[in-house]
């Protein structure tokens, strides 16, 4: 059978869009199959209620007007896990979300759609900690640096601006005796502005099209809806928050070498034996999420970028060879949340303003890095998500069930009743810090199939995760550090949520480099099959947000694919 494309990429998220664009730049013909909707494209004017067309290959199809209609800034409309536009489910909101079993309850907070989970992400792009890569990964940190630099320039990554909440965080951290980092390669504890991919007002940037597209009125307006879907900009490719649908996808469209089909769930990777008897990928079977129609497609190379849960699920559902690390080794930074509530007088003293206004400014514009423990990330957003993150999720039950004793916080557990209302009355004077733990890889954690239950896309995934005692200690240390910063800044009341380990946000490392793939990210047991999403990360990076490292690796993987299979022979 003739090939349809040079390369098929499964998934148009944080990794898939990157590998696709880089391969298009090299002149290869690339097909991207994306399970979810495409927001901001004329071919899908009503992406959640009408099937629209089959594919888009043209930059001219992008439409900021449609994006503005789709992204409403409204939390339930955008972020409901059941029926929100950013959910793990089909574009058609009349249909239920795709099912996953999470042992011990819980949920995975991922998005289907062109852009993947960068649709709701906060735009943060720190590098991994060098100490979590060197002598740990099968490649060195130095090998990543040129790719980090390339991605940082394209996105582009810059230091986030400060408004009241960042000023207060820096005030507390500095007063507590910590110093500010001025490096991207972090080896010691300290705080810094978030390295993020949110265009600042007036920041000069070379948009796709090399001079064809000059815009004046673009950049972040600090209105605080990163998590609800940024649509601020004169065009899709100049939207302030640099989800991959705003940069890598438009860049790829401009090459003329790409076709992107949203609403296509890949249900099988096709393989055959080559002349040497080695297994190799030859294509995929994809299913239209509106009609249920399946299509078989062939290419020289297949890249899996379906995400940390779906990539191993697809491997297993395709009956690809057994490997003790497929689906195994899941880490998720076992999040926690510490919230400080301030009185006006303390705020006046610290920042000269009576309010923090957590809904204003970028959602996560400052951070504290602590190699060996993990990360503190300042967080603020609109009130529904804010209340659930700070007060609704706890492994310790309700606040009244816990004695905090000499711990540095005042309450631990979920806050409900009159106390919840009282704390939310102080929403304007609340500072929240989210914790990412440097959690350890454990082969028992990960993704398997439920062999008793299928949905339309195959056996459904079961997700398991247990934290280790070491993880627990690191996380407690981070909660203490966060509390000390808040208290030093003047917080009157501090609440530690102590999240259950079953809320999955930074999912990583279920198809680890060196164990499931070789150091080039090509599967060890299936030639011409590559992996380019968070699943291929070797570990939790020490705590930093995973997107940049995944994108750096995906850029490197595109080079590897081209050099091995397409470069003219010398």
């Amino acid at each position: 059978m003739e090939k349809d494309f040079d390369v098929i990429v499964i998934g148009a998220g944080g990794g898939g869009a990157v590998v696709a664009k880089e391969l298009c730049d090299k002149g290869l013909r690339v097909l991207v199959l994306e399970a979810g909707a495409w927001y901001g494209n004329k071919k899908w004017p009503k992406p959640n209620s009408e099937p629209g067309e089959k594919s888009s290959s043209s930059y001219e199809d992008l439409s900021i007007d449609i994006l503005n209609e789709c992204f409403t800034d409204l939390e339930d409309d955008m972020n409901s896990l059941i029926s929100g536009k950013f959910r793990w489910g089909p574009a058609n909101r009349q249909k239920e979300p795709w099912k996953r079993l999470v042992a011990h309850g819980g949920f995975t907070w991922q998005n289907a759609g062109v852009g993947g989970s960068t649709l709701h992400y906060l735009g943060n792009h720190p590098r991994a900690y060098p100490t979590s890569v060197n002598q740990v990964w099968p490649i060195t940190y130095d090998e990543l640096i040129p790719y980090y630099e390339k991605v940082e320039q394209l996105l582009p990554v810059t230091n986030a601006p400060a408004v009241a909440k960042e000023d207060l965080f820096y005030y507390g951290a500095s007063k507590a005796g910590w110093s500010q980092h001025d490096t991207k390669n972090v080896t010691t504890p300290g705080y810094r502005p978030q390295p993020n991919a949110i265009l600042r007002r007036g920041q000069s940037y070379q948009f796709p099209g090399e001079g064809l597209h000059e815009y004046t009125n673009y950049g972040c307006t600090l209105r605080g809806h990163c998590i609800n879907g940024c649509h601020i900009g004169p065009t899709v490719d100049s939207v302030a928050k640099r989800s991959t649908f705003t940069n890598y996808i438009p860049f790829a469209l401009l090459t003329g070498n790409i076709e992107i089909r949203p609403n296509n769930f890949v249900i099988q990777v096709l393989t055959e034996k080559d002349n040497n008897g080695d297994l190799q990928a030859i294509g995929v079977i994809s299913k239209d999420t509106w009609t249920g129609e399946t299509t078989q497609l062939r290419a020289d190379i297949v890249v899996m970028a379906a995400g940390t849960i779906e990539t191993p699920r697809l491997w297993l559902n395709s009956n690809l060879p057994e490997n003790p690390w497929v689906g195994r080794g899941l880490v998720n930074h076992w999040f926690d949340s510490v919230t400080g509530i301030f009185e006006e007088s303390a705020l006046m003293e610290a920042i000269g303003s009576p309010n923090i206004r957590p809904f204003s400014g970028q959602n996560a514009a400052a951070r504290f890095d602590y190699p060996g423990w993990g990360v503190l990330e300042l967080f603020g957003c609109s009130p529904a998500l804010y209340s659930t993150l700070g007060y609704a999720s706890s492994d310790s039950g309700f606040f009244f069930e816990n004695k905090v004793g000499d711990k540095p916080w005042d309450y631990e557990g979920a806050i409900v009743g009159d106390l919840l209302k009282e704390y939310m009355m102080n929403y304007q004077r609340t500072l929240n810090i989210v914790i990412f733990t440097d959690d350890e890889v454990n082969q028992d954690n990960g993704v398997t199939l439920d062999m008793h239950e299928k949905d339309e896309n195959g056996y459904i995934p079961i997700i398991r995760y247990h934290a280790s005692q070491k993880d627990r200690i690191k996380r407690d240390n981070l909660a203490t550090l966060a509390s000390n910063i808040l208290r030093t800044a003047g917080a009157k009341t501090i609440v530690r949520a102590n999240w259950s380990p079953d809320i999955y946000i930074h999912l990583m490392s279920t198809m680890r480099i060196g164990l499931v793939t070789n150091t080039q990210c090509e599967a060890l047991q299936v030639k011409k099959l590559y992996i380019a999403d968070n699943s291929v990360l070797y570990n939790s990076l020490g705590g930093p947000n995973p997107t940049l490292t995944t994108q750096a690796l995906a850029t490197r993987t595109a080079d590897n694919i081209f050099d091995k299979y397409f470069a003219p022979q010398a």
């Binding site: 011990h104 209105r223 039950g397 939310m424 259950s500």
Partner: protein, 196 residues
């Protein structure tokens, strides 16, 4: 399904007294009406989840795609209440009614029943049922949904709040935003005119 009013139909079925009473009792325990707060901070702080119809939000969200999930939740909450009462761990007298045992508990005792449910949900198949095979962390999800229902825009969909998500339009900003001094998205979202 195209008419987008099946939530409306579902809600009409929602006349089962016990289902309504139990979900109402749940959201009322999480976000109560507060006379004390009203006295201290102004009348607007009196209002709670019942005033913003968050029991309806919980009902339609639970039943959106899996019919009977709301009823299953109610059964579970009642099982938890039964366990609390049989251990004589309720602190206040019951106010028995047709609404079922959970709804008969004082709000503070409902929280104790929920805490009990959370503690035992993984070790007691009786309390876990029928959640064994679905993707909810029962208790935390119910609490999260209650807060999302209350502090998100949902109540502001007004007369369209029970329609399918694609067909809802914002008619006003919810009262909960006034309670917490949240101005809403800036610039303000355009509000729909209510057809008379």
């Amino acid at each position: 399904m195209e008419s987008g009013n099946n939530n409306q139909d579902m809600l009409e079925e929602y006349t089962l007294k016990q289902t309504k009473a139990t979900l109402s009792a749940f959201v009322d325990a999480i976000i109560p009406r507060s006379e004390e707060l009203a006295k201290e901070y102004g009348e607007i702080q009196y209002f709670g989840a019942l005033d913003l119809l968050v029991d309806e939000y919980l009902y339609i969200t639970l039943n959106e795609y899996q019919p009977d999930l709301a009823e299953a939740t109610v059964e579970m909450l009642n099982a938890a209440a039964q366990r609390l009462v049989s251990r004589v761990e309720n602190k206040k007298p019951l106010n028995l009614s047709e609404g079922g045992l959970f709804a008969s508990l004082a709000p503070s005792d409902r929280l104790l029943a929920i805490a009990l449910l959370k503690k035992y949900q993984y070790s007691s198949s009786h309390l876990l049922y029928p959640y064994e095979n679905i993707f909810y962390n029962v208790v935390d999800n119910l609490i999260r949904l209650t807060m999302i229902g209350y502090y998100s825009e949902w109540f502001g969909y007004g007369t369209t709040r029970l329609l399918q998500p694609n067909n809802r339009v914002l008619e006003f900003y919810p009262l909960s935003w006034n309670q917490i001094d949240y101005p809403g998205p800036t610039p303000p979202r355009q509000l729909a005119m209510i057809e008379s």
